[in-house]
Amino acid sequence: MAAFYTASTTATPPSLPKPYRPSSAAYLQSPPLKFNISSKITTTPSVFCTLTKQPMVSTEEVRPQAGFLQRPDSFGRFGKFGGKYVPETLMYALSELEDAFKSLSTDQEFQTELNGILRDYVGRETPLYFAERLTEHYRRPNGGGPHIYLKREDLNHTGAHKINNAVGQVLLAKRLGKKRIIAETGAGQHGVATATVCARFGLECIIYMGAQDMERQALNVFRMRLLGAEVRPVHSGTATLKDATSEAIRDWVTNVESTHYILGSVAGPHPYPMMVREFHACIGKETRKQSLEKWGGKPDVLVACVGGGSNAMGLFHEFVDDKDVRLIGVEAAGFGIESGKHAATLTKGEVGVLHGAMSYLLQDEDGQIVEPHSISAGLDYPGVGPEHSFLKDIGRAEYFNVTDEEALEAFKRVSRMEGIIPALETSHALAHLEKLCPTLPDGAKVVLNCSGRGDKDVHTAIKHLKL
């Protein structure tokens, strides 16, 4: 369910203050919304939020550089992306969440509890591992080449980075006095992470999962049930992740007082993109500390796969203000960009509103969501986090894509070279190294976020690789 608000492509109405309008023209090339099939492209942004009591940030002089801007601003916007496109019933819940989050970030007791859980339960810090054989593989004939390091998020409890956010949000929910937790899941990893933390903290847990996904991921469904969660199938639409998300939002609207919605990625209405990013930011913080210990400097390039964008944001956030660090996100190209069966939102998508946030998304001419495809269920999302859209637009981060085949090759390569079976999602980032490494100078330090382990993907891989 996307909340649609009418937008005008002409001048601003006099009663509203002027919306934020940075001066850079390149930033405004495409029209923000595509509800009307209009051939006219204007340079005026014409999206308005609902009025709030908070004053507008006057930013005419400010150039859209990450360092200068508050990410997100008080409206929950990253440039023109983000925001809170939700029904009125949810506005209070979102403000309450934001206030609680802000107060808890300075609460020592909460931070100590969270850090204790991350250390003893989740198993942080995760190592920054020098991938010797992979580095050797990319070594050039003259002996030079980049050095590849893997940030081992696959070693976390439940086997993916998802738990960082789940733990943070469930502690937040407990503080808010909520007894019921809901979540959506595609591949099942976020569902398992949510069910895990709910079991740990004794909260009721309901997971919405598309009926088609439930068939593909039967083992994850069983794991969620074992952990005490109720898994509700969603049959509407295409019965996949985006429909599960819509159903979860619907549930939340109905039960907003008693329920907290643990969103799995940096998508959704403000404050979720910010919250999820903050809970995952430990990845980047640890990387900074560990790279300083290991080679006395910062990474030169950060590479991560992008589905919704949570693991990438977790790694990038710490380094966004460090101009000398390149940020590279890798999306899923499925059967290939031209085939139309892919999930490369930032490459082929256009700006629109989905699940409460404005961001790039895969949509057709009528503004309907296009069903994405990727061999990896975790990247199979037609949208992307608004902050990624912003970073792409201002040129701070670069986004590429990788096909299913290339990802499977990388899966096999890294398993056999490093003895680490990466998740198929991570394999997309690993596959991009093939194109990236030849372009890098000798000794460049590349840190790749190994966002999850591939135990869940062995059957798929074996089928495709015919081992």
Partner: protein, 475 residues
């Protein structure tokens, strides 16, 4: 080219000839007069003053003399960071242990023992191993206070022991097996072997070995019983993904082990047998225990940090005993720490077995009246071994450790309990230890610190648990 022993010196933990490293193996095979059968005379040929000088800080006081260097050295060792613990070069723990192997293997095992000793004293090797354990395996694994489990076991007055889980399920590949696999694979590479052979039951050791071999670019062959291949198909897929060759053997783990040893004996020069269990001829039990003892060392350190003391009770499941020994070994000398090992009721070598020799070692094992091996069974496939580590047999006989049994159903209940209470899916093997808490907790005083070794994660067991649940519902 035969090496002249008088040119061989010990430098930095490696024997060197003309400044170039030389392995003991080359030394032994190039000059028959220094074969291990005569190693008591070893010292006469080599410039021992250099060796004694280099080794004396670590080797104890006044125990060495140039004539009987190797024997004495190997008999009393002070391993780095530990108090002196004697272990004999025949590998006996009381009457258990030993080297009951064909003559062809004796040389090989002695070389292995010497290499192990050198490696344990080589600071470079230790540093490299510590780095791999930290960056590759993901150590240290946390010591986690299981609050909800503790509350579950509190009595009506709210009193009960405090339960901590040593999270070996969080390490790379999901079980403690990797601690040993990576260390032995590094040892094998150091010795110069290119090919590894191993046997696996549940598949965890196979996966750990395959991972370590992939990382160190060693060829890897894993033998697995056909029964186990069916039951643990996901682990088989993992091994194949990691580039290992999986060979099926008729039967179960014990048959796979026999086949692996047979395969190894056929090409001793080129292959290295990576044992995952703390059984087998000396030095295998000791080697596996040494590499797994990191678990106990970390537990001591973490217990000190958390509550400023030691654990009161250590609880671990026992198949062959690698994870149990890894946890217990550090605390054997601490009499106030209770050591409890839990076996599967139909695989309970220590509780129900008799002493005999199997796979090269003397230990308790499940045997019938004619001394034939009884096939064990457990829902926790990793516990299905008819024998047990000789060191554990020794601990049982000396009364230092206690051993009990748990049935399949009790283990399954514990599996579900930990899932629901702590959100941790434990391996069915570890569930046996967790199940014993039901009986143990009510006998313990308020505030007793119990540390359970959560030796692996249970994702691999989900399918088996589904099937058993369905069977239980139908019956």
């Amino acid at each position: 080219m035969a090496s002249n022993p008088s040119n061989v010196f010990l430098q930095g933990g490696k024997f060197t000839e003309f400044g170039k490293p030389i392995t003991l193996r080359k030394l032994f095979f190039s000059n028959p007069s220094v074969l291990p059968y005569n190693y008591r005379n070893f010292g006469a040929h080599i410039s021992c003053s250099a060796i004694v000088e280099k080794l004396s800080p670590a080797a104890g006081q006044g125990e060495l003399d140039s004539k009987s260097l190797t024997t004495r050295y190997l008999m009393t060792q002070k391993l780095p960071g530990q108090t002196e613990k004697p272990f004999s070069s025949t590998g006996k723990f009381g009457r258990f242990g030993g080297k009951f192997v064909p003559e062809t293997l004796i040389t090989c095992l002695s070389i292995l023992e010497a290499e192990l000793t050198l490696a344990l004293h080589d600071t470079d090797f230790q540093e490299e191993l510590a780095t791999e354990l930290r960056d590759y395996v993901g150590r240290e694994s946390p010591l986690y206070y299981a609050k909800r489990l503790t509350d579950y076991y509190k009595n009506s007055e709210g009193k009960g022991p405090e339960i901590y889980l040593k999270r070996e399920d969080l390490v790379h590949t999901g079980a403690h097996k990797i601690n040993n696999a990576i260390a032995q694979a590094m040892l094998a590479k150091r010795i110069g072997r290119k090919s590894i052979v191993a046997a696996t039951g549940a598949g965890q050791h196979g996966v750990a070995t395959a991972a370590a071999c992939a990382k160190l670019s060693l060829e890897c062959t894993i033998f697995m019983g056909s029964i186990d291949i069916e039951r643990q198909s996901s682990n088989v897929l993992h091994m194949k993904n990691l580039g290992a060759q999986v060979k099926a053997v008729d039967g179960s783990f014990k048959d796979a082990m026999s086949e692996a040893i047979r395969n190894w004996v056929g090409s001793l020069e080129t292959r290295y047998f990576l044992s995952g269990t703390a059984v087998g001829p000396h030095p295998c039990p000791t080697m596996v225990r040494e590499f797994q003892s990191i678990i106990g060392k970390e537990t001591r350190k973490q217990a000190k940090e958390k509550w400023g003391g030691k654990p009161d009770v250590l609880l671990a499941c026992v198949g062959s005993g690698s994870n149990a020994l890894g946890m217990f070994h550090e605390f054997i000398g601490d009499e106030d720490v209770r050591l409890i090992g839990i076996e599967a009721s139909h695989s309970a070598s220590l509780s129900r077995g008799d002493v005999g020799v199997y796979h090269g070692t003397m230990s308790y094992l499940l045997q019938d009246e004619e001394g034939q091996i009884i096939g064990p069974h457990s829902i926790g496939v990793g516990l299905e071994y008819p024998g047990v580590s000789p060191e554990l047999s020794f601990l049982k006989e000396s009364g230092r450790a206690e051993f009990y049994t748990i049935t399949d159903d009790e283990a399954l209940d514990a599996y579900e309990r930990l899932c629901r209470l702590e959100g941790i899916i434990p391996a069915l093997e570890a569930c046996h230890a967790l199940a014993y808490l039901d009986k143990l907790c009510r006998t313990l005083d308020d505030g007793t610190k119990v540390v359970v070794n959560c030796s692996g994660r249970g994702d691999k067991d989900a399918a088996a648990v589904i099937m058993r649940k369905q069977d239980r519902l139908e019956s």
